[in-house]
């Protein structure tokens, strides 16, 4: 009889033993625990700060900074700049070195990655040695090497190396002519824009023609003519008429150093060199792995269709390899951005050096400054991944 009962109405399980209820219960406990921890930390910090009479809050961002920074992309001076401005200066310097670094490291990484797979023994071995050496030495050591051993060995300003065309090199950095824009610069910009739009339209047309008829048009030459030759001709014409849109201010010798012109700080160059060469070693490996992931049959098929090795790489292998390359490439970009904070060791005024160094020390508001800095790196990283994910979605295999 008993079995019959259990068949008709399953035994009433205790509420406590319901796995679903238990699951939810543990989740709630965890969330409450985490919230409590943060609440405790926040109230405790506020209480301790008040007891120790340490200033708190974000009001300090509006206070006058009173110190100078060597490289500023926005107007900043000790007289008028606030701590908030110093934060922006540091942030822009971080973004500048990261963006330029990502650009160059991508090029260098692809070149070395492809070189490692070269059939030329010498080229392949050189690329291999590069990768093995660069990625096995700590980045900080490499930065100090570039800054102290390489750039520090440059001559003093009074013996600057003259490199022609207004370029000078010395221990204080690279000096070059600074373009001064005249009133007619808008004409030049307009011509350049027309050239770019023209190129874009022409390329689209040429591609369509090729797809429909198979005829190929001289895309490269036309691009060059529209983007480079046209603006240069305009410039020459304007200069001949006597309304030169761009004049150059050359660096001159001053009491201590070259003055005028544009100066690129050795700290910036050392950081950029270090980040680019180091990250490129990792990107090279990512690229190599991506290319090796494309089956050999693809290359052979392309060859049998009559594509040259260059075309095979460009049109067949790389596009497929990109699917494998993009995700790890993204994390290398993030690494480069985060590693730029090592700037602090060589005096490049990035976010960490300016904000977590000088500003933190002058204001003493460690918690606020550290929280802001962490928030900034988190935001930069998330935005980079977001953009790369969009790109990844575009190149990923479309499953049917």
């Amino acid at each position: 009889m008993q079995t019959a009962v259990s068949q008709t109405s399953p035994p009433q399980k205790s509420f406590l033993y319901d796995p679903k209820v238990r699951g939810i219960f543990y989740q709630v406990v965890l969330i409450v625990g985490i919230v409590y921890l943060f609440y405790m930390a926040a109230t405790n910090a506020i209480e301790n700060l008040q007891r120790a009479k340490i200033a708190s809050g974000f009001g300090f961002l509006n206070n006058t900074a009173g110190f100078d920074i060597s490289q500023t992309l926005i107007q900043f001076s000790a007289a008028g700049g606030t701590y908030g401005d110093a934060f922006i200066v540091g942030l822009l310097n971080t973004l500048l070195v990261s963006a330029i670094g990502i650009f160059f490291t991508t090029i260098l990484g692809f070149v070395i990655g492809i070189a490692r797979l070269s059939k030329n023994w010498m080229v392949a071995k050189v690329a291999m040695v590069y990768v093995e050496v660069l990625r096995n030495i700590p980045l900080l050591v490499q930065l100090l090497f570039w800054y102290i051993a390489v750039l520090g060995a440059l001559p003093q300003p009074r013996n600057s190396l003259e490199m022609g065309a207004g370029f000078y090199l010395n221990a204080r950095g690279l000096f070059m002519a600074k373009p001064i824009y005249g009133p007619n610069i808008s004409i030049l910009v307009a011509v350049l824009l027309i050239g770019l739009i023209g190129t874009f339209l022409y390329r689209r047309w040429a591609r369509k023609q090729q797809e429909q008829t198979g005829r190929q048009y001289p895309v490269g030459k036309v691009t060059l003519a529209l983007v480079l030759v046209l603006p240069v001709l305009t410039w020459i014409v304007l200069a001949l008429v006597g309304t030169n849109p761009i004049t150059f201010e050359l660096p001159r010798k001053g009491t201590f150093n070259l003055t005028g012109g544009m100066q690129i700080l050795p700290e910036f160059v050392a950081l950029l060199l270090g980040l680019v060469t180091y990250t490129a070693a990792f990107i090279a490996e990512v690229v190599r792995a991506g290319i090796l992931a494309v089956s050999k049959g693809q290359t052979e098929a392309a060859g049998s269709l009559g594509l040259t090795p260059g075309q095979t790489l460009r049109l067949v292998v790389i596009p497929q390899a990109m699917r494998v390359i993009i995700p790890p490439l993204t994390s290398q970009y993030l690494n480069l951005t985060k590693n730029s904070s090592l700037a602090v060791a060589i005096g490049y005024p990035d976010l960490v050096q300016v904000f977590m160094g000088t500003v933190l020390n002058q204001t003493g508001q460690a918690i606020e400054v550290v929280v802001i800095t962490m928030g900034v790196y988190l935001t930069i990283s998330l935005v980079t991944s977001f953009i790369m994910n969009i790109y990844n979605r575009r190149v990923a295999i479309v499953e049917r």
């Binding site: 007891r51 060597s70 520090g152 204080r172 009491t255 201590f256 150093n257 602090v344 020390n361 003493g364």
Partner: protein, 339 residues
């Protein structure tokens, strides 16, 4: 960098989770630990620097030894924690060190906004510049357009900006995290001039690859009252630090030295009797023993002795007493009476 992160991490975790030491706790916690933790310079000759054997020497580290002597009757019961300029106050605020004695300038904002107290000034200083002789510069007023190396997070960095602004001159600042990096960059030719407190200039010049190639310019562009710092709120601890300094000053003024301190206990001079604890109970009122000053002088010496040994004519730095002479000799060092 690592040090910075460590001390900031300490600072954060301490201020986030510590229940907060009660206001009078520093002396008790030092006694309980059995040693004093002292924030010192990462390396500044004459003020705080480890020698080849790893023994710390200098005016500022001797000050910490004096505090330890007063508490434990043993000047070796100190642990020195080297701190870069930009990490020092966080380390003190977070309780990583009990006292910060590393040539730090007392300023209003540091006392009011950073939550610190500067109970004593153990070295009156001012900021100066050092340049290479071959530049042919004789005055700081001729530095228009120069690159200048400085340490970040210091009053030096701010005074520099003020001075060039006030004199309407241009300059390029190159700021580094530690004094070591700063001076190395100057020595390697990254900058035309190096700026820090005048005492620091003489100390750092000793480390240059060719010390005689550098000169210190005559201008002193700021007031830099350097002294030990403690956290706001623990007045007993502040008193101990203040009176350690005053005991050393008074001892010098009264002629009590390391060598004669035991004899001086028999002195009939009431001022000496009060200082050495043979009359009155001044030491006990601070939470120490009545012979606290004897302990300091016996183990470390009076202010003049410590000055001579570390930075004075008897040292490599050869700095004159100047503003740091006793008030009776035209200086600014003035011991508050024990009474």
């Amino acid at each position: 960098m690592k040090k910075a992160l460590v001390s900031i991490a300490f600072g954060l975790t301490a201020s986030l989770f510590a229940t907060g030491a009660s206001a009078q706790a520093t002396l008790n916690s030092v006694k309980q630990k059995g040693f004093l933790t002292c924030g010192s310079n990462t390396g500044l000759a004459g003020f705080g620097q480890p020698d080849a054997q790893g023994n710390w020497t200098g005016l500022d580290v001797d000050f910490c030894r004096a505090i330890a002597a007063a508490i434990f009757d043993d000047p070796t019961k100190v642990r020195f924690i080297p701190l870069a300029a930009k990490d020092r106050f966080t380390a003190l605020q977070s309780g990583e060190v009990d006292v910060l004695s590393r040539n730090s300038t007392a300023t209003m904002s540091r006392e009011t906004q950073l939550g610190l107290d500067f109970p004593a000034i153990n070295y009156f200083d001012g900021q100066g510049f050092m340049v290479r002789k071959k530049l042919g510069v004789a005055s700081a007023k001729e530095l228009n357009g120069a690159s200048i190396c400085t340490q970040q997070g210091t009053t030096t960095e701010l005074n520099l900006a003020d001075y060039f602004r006030a004199n309407n001159m241009k300059y390029e600042v190159v700021a580094f995290a530690t004094s070591d990096e700063t001076f190395k960059a100057y020595d390697a030719g990254r900058c035309d001039a190096f700026t820090t407190d005048a005492s620091g200039l003489y100390a750092e010049r000793l480390r240059a690859s060719a010390p005689d190639d550098h000169i210190v310019l005559p201008e002193i562009i700021s007031k830099e009252p350097l002294g030990p710092a403690v956290r706001h709120g623990d007045n007993q601890w502040g008193d101990i630090v203040r009176w350690t300094h005053n005991a050393m000053l008074n001892a010098e003024e009264l002629g009590v030295t390391k060598a004669n301190v035991e004899q001086m206990k028999n002195s009939e001079n009431p001022e000496i009797k009060r200082l050495l604890g043979t009359e009155g109970k001044f030491g006990e009122a601070t939470g120490l023993t009545n012979d606290w000053a004897v302990r300091i002088i016996k183990h470390v010496g009076n202010y003049g002795e410590v000055f001579e040994k570390n930075v004075g004519e008897g040292s490599r730095l050869k700095i004159k007493r100047g503003q740091n002479a006793q008030w009776t000799k035209g200086g600014l060092q003035y011991g508050i009476p024990v009474r």
